[in-house]
Symmetry: C2
Subunit: 337 residues, 2 copies
Amino acid sequence: MGVTIKDVARETNLAISTISKYMNGGKVRKKNQEVIEAAIRKLNYNPNGMARGLRNSRTYRVGLIMGNNSNSHASMLLKEIESRMREKGYFLIFLDNEYCIPEVTEEYVKFLVENGVDGMIVTTIGEQIDYIRRAREAHIPVVIMEECYTTVDTDCVQVNCTGGTYEIIEHLIKAGHRKIAAINGMSESHTALERKTGYLRAMEDYGFPINKNYLIEGDYRSGSGYLGIKKLWQLKDRPTAVFVANYNMCIGVMEAIYELGIKVPEELSIVSFDDFELSVMVRPKLTAVRQPLIEMAETVCDLLIRRMNGDYEDYPQRIRLKPECIYRDSVLQIHTP
Amino acid sequence: MGVTIKDVARETNLAISTISKYMNGGKVRKKNQEVIEAAIRKLNYNPNGMARGLRNSRTYRVGLIMGNNSNSHASMLLKEIESRMREKGYFLIFLDNEYCIPEVTEEYVKFLVENGVDGMIVTTIGEQIDYIRRAREAHIPVVIMEECYTTVDTDCVQVNCTGGTYEIIEHLIKAGHRKIAAINGMSESHTALERKTGYLRAMEDYGFPINKNYLIEGDYRSGSGYLGIKKLWQLKDRPTAVFVANYNMCIGVMEAIYELGIKVPEELSIVSFDDFELSVMVRPKLTAVRQPLIEMAETVCDLLIRRMNGDYEDYPQRIRLKPECIYRDSVLQIHTP
DNA sequence: CTGAAAGCGCTAACAA
DNA sequence: TTGTTAGCGCTTTCAG
């Protein structure tokens, strides 16, 4: 990293400031432009981000804090955000908070603030968003992704989980199912709550009572999906369909189903939130709610970039994206009398 | 990010340089130490990484270029590397090269060099490592992870794929299998080549001829696993066992197996390289080669850190980690006459 | 349109 | 041990 703006100036017999101006899109005489371009090419010059950042207190870094990276949902999001941010000239600094623990998030936020980022994207659970405080104090824009309570007054973009779940439960109902179980996520998670709400609301709207035994409290991890099915299958009055609230739990669900030899969809119909490899890998292929991940990544990045550029006109934004139901073969059509 | 070293100096009535020295672990009078500590606490001071970096031409950034992030293998590695690097005070800048295309790697390396990193970790395929040239020219240390040809004279850490494959094929042979197929990765990949070699060598060592029809050329992606099984099953003389060279292809393999209704292990035994959710999710659970991912991440990070600190004593290193075979239920014991 | 010069926050050599 | 000072590479007034 030896060649600096100084060298270019010397090579071109122009002033440093002229080069600088040109580098930043300023106007210079046509002839000089060519000379500068040539020198840059010749010397293989490129600006030092450090110095630049020091000067205009910009770091060109964006932090991304999220967890559960070992599932497809998270890694897809990561990939999309990364490429989009790089395209826009930002580095993505990724911090993994595997279990989405709020205290860990807070620590990471602190770390990022102290070490300097221009903005950050955060996914974490828990209602209070005190973990963001430090970023706010430092006037660093934050966009919350996915897990955002309605009480929070910060930019956030999320998927309308309630709506997606409602739709897929409705599909079950229309197929003739009445005994529908739900393996939900943990109550600290807002998305989990939304999904549960979608289920509850659909059942209510169609006038079906909720069977408490059909409401399984999971934790978004595969083990709880496994246990969920085991529990449901011990019931005297087994459900004919089950809604699984996320991908990881679905893995556990499938495991239990193989183990118990449950026939899908003859004995049990399955629908799930999240749509990945597994959904098409198993037989029958799963009917599932697909989240618009690419759109989400785009939206988050664009919003954050606007904030970093000082555009707070419409702050705070709460953007809700629409998921899509993918209908496959895991739901049995019941011919009710 | 308002409070600077200057403020601390003013608050403590000490010189800027004294604060600086203290911040960098230098010795100061005991009393002053307390005063400084107090001031730092009070003002909530923390050093500006930019300025620091500009001064001693360090960025405290490390780049990680890798692909295939949407599988567990890669995301686990990412997670481990991230946390380890952060622990050591480095930012991890992640660049996703989904399909491990050498040209893309080259572009990313260029990007990182231009924007300044202290070191980088790279996984890519292809024999020539010209994509690293720019990093070398800039004297930025690079550690190659996984895909490293023996002809390359750069630090690299990889898993002994040949050995792992050999061992698991041997297991098959000892279980009485003779008709063993292999769904391999693409030939540009060194790990894929190694795995194939392990297969070939084991067969040879035990004196079994290779059936060309049993050698399937895959590409490490799930679709090729799917097609591989379809092809094998069309054969008149079907194999009794198959080795699948990576996780993603295993997903496709399982899909085909369900579709064709193949009974595992009665009709076909399966062993695979890579061991993740899928391996224990399906029935029967898969016998597989597990890569020591955490160890790999640790090794890579530690090596890179040493290089970044100027320790080139043992350069270049070629570290080969030992994988482990996990024996489960997907291999049928054949009682040969 | 171009150039001279100040200064972003920090470190390190040197002086005290 | 502590303080003074130059300067890392760049941007940005302000004159020319």
